[in-house]
Assembly symmetry: C2
Homo-oligomer: 285 residues x 2
């Protein structure tokens, strides 16, 4: 294909809806929603197991999984060192304003908190990626593990968005909180990955707690146990008749896995090692 | 498992080599290299197709692929708009000092440039991730696609590291260049993703060119065509007797794919759309 003549290339160009960029005729007058491209970059044709078309672009069949609901929800890291206590009390003190703001609106709370929960994995993964490049060193799989955590949290958000729609002042709040939290976590990770992972470990312990409260409200009937969103059924391979309760169960199991991974990462640093010295748990759900 | 008593948990604790963190006895006196953990986080036992143990932690069997060597290496985006020309001449002007610095040492050049090449995908992926969270919007798969590009470039680096070892002043140079390039690309992406992706598109065109030069030197015999590193054989599923030449061929094909993805992404922006409006090419190698 690399011996294609210029004439052939031009012909191919004309087949596009518009000669984007190269033709100088950007935007305007376009009918289709997708950009047909000279670059031959096609989104992959993906089908479900039953042969029907895969309708999600933000995740693919090979990223779906069945949550391990048998995970111990009660594991806890008792803070003893100064840094552990700092991490613990930082998280505990964030809990209070959150409780006041959301009260019993657990659907809304879940949605809002997932926008924050997806930040640490991305920050940690990015910093380890840059370090791996700078030091000419493999990462032991930790870059991937942390990025997977971030993806997983983003899927939690995509799920809860289907159940609870953000209002304008909530969007504004998320905007501000993300700005502050991203930078704070970035600096914390640079200063002490040990502390940063410990904080996430405790945040996940709180997340488990608030999803347990969410389940109680569902069981009491104060929150309606609606049908599970389609995206959740596909992502966690849930039965078609699953409900919001089933979704909260698998999300809570995910949080328990994140708790373990992050406390474990902090423990590695406590041993005076670097993450790359202990292979990462890839695909740990 | 969540009903485990405290006694049982303490017993489990004692089975660890040390009661990390929670016991207060951090580091020291440890024999094994890996942290055995209360958190039960085990790196997955992964085997190769032939049943032997998978020896890489930085990538897994399901991330390996056979490169598509039939890709058109000559595709080029003719710069017509001001932004395109800015992108084009930015890249061209970076070429000159690079040529002077490395001259014909293509192995070294490849290794050094891959430390830079892995930055844009990570920056773009991270920014789109944060945007997706802030706006409560799915990404159309672009977060994943850009992060995959970054992972792929990091694998290029891991491969060339086996062929050429960085010297101390090269390490220092990478340190500085990463600091500058990361921030410059970050700002460029914030200001104009259209420009940022176009720059990467042109960088990849240059990468194809310099890998073609690398192949010429290998064919002339001025660079020794050594055995392919084991990591490359596993990552690109190459035959066991592959050589450096085969590795450069597949890496060059990867660069051509990155070129297409990034020019395509820029084209989408030229249409006045956002990336999420056109599904991303996941697993496009
Ligand atoms: Fe979550
Ligand atoms: Fe979590
Ligand atoms: Fe590369
Ligand atoms: Fe590339």
């Amino acid at each position: 294909a690399s011996t294609m003549t210029l004439g052939e290339k031009e012909q191919q160009q004309e087949h596009k809806e518009e000669a984007t960029g190269s033709g100088g005729a950007a935007a305007g007058g376009q009918k289709g929603k997708e950009v047909v491209s000279y670059w031959g970059v096609q989104p992959p044709k993906v089908t479900k197991e039953d042969g029907s078309e895969w309708k999600w672009h933000c995740f693919r069949p090979w990223e779906t999984y069945q949550a391990d609901l048998s995970i111990d929800l009660k594991k806890h890291h008792t803070p003893t060192t100064f840094l552990d206590k700092l991490a613990y009390w930082t998280v505990k003190s964030l809990r209070f304003p959150t409780d006041v703001f959301f009260q019993r609106r657990y659907g809304c709370r879940a949605m809002m908190l997932e926008t924050v929960a997806a930040v640490p994995g991305m920050v940690g993964g990015m910093l380890l990626h840059c370090k791996s490049l700078r030091r000419f060193e493999p990462s032991g799989g930790w870059i991937k593990a942390l990025l997977e955590e971030a993806e997983n949290e983003r899927m939690h958000l995509m799920t809860f968005m289907e159940v609870s729609k953000p209002r304008w002042y909530e969007r504004a709040l998320v905007f501000t909180v993300q700005g502050v939290f991203f930078n704070a976590y970035f600096l914390a990770y640079l200063a002490s990955p040990k502390l940063a992972h410990r904080i996430v470990g405790y945040l996940e312990e709180e997340a488990i707690h608030s999803y347990t409260e969410f389940l109680k409200e569902l069981d009491k009937g104060t929150i309606e146990n609606v049908k599970a969103p389609a995206i959740a059924i596909d992502y966690w391979r849930l039965p078609a008749d699953s409900t919001l309760r089933d979704v909260v169960m698998v999300v809570r199991a995910d949080e328990a896995h994140h708790r373990d991974v992050n406390h474990f990462a902090s423990d590695i640093h406590y041993k005076g090692q670097e993450l790359k010295d202990s292979p990462a748990p890839i695909g740990y759900h």
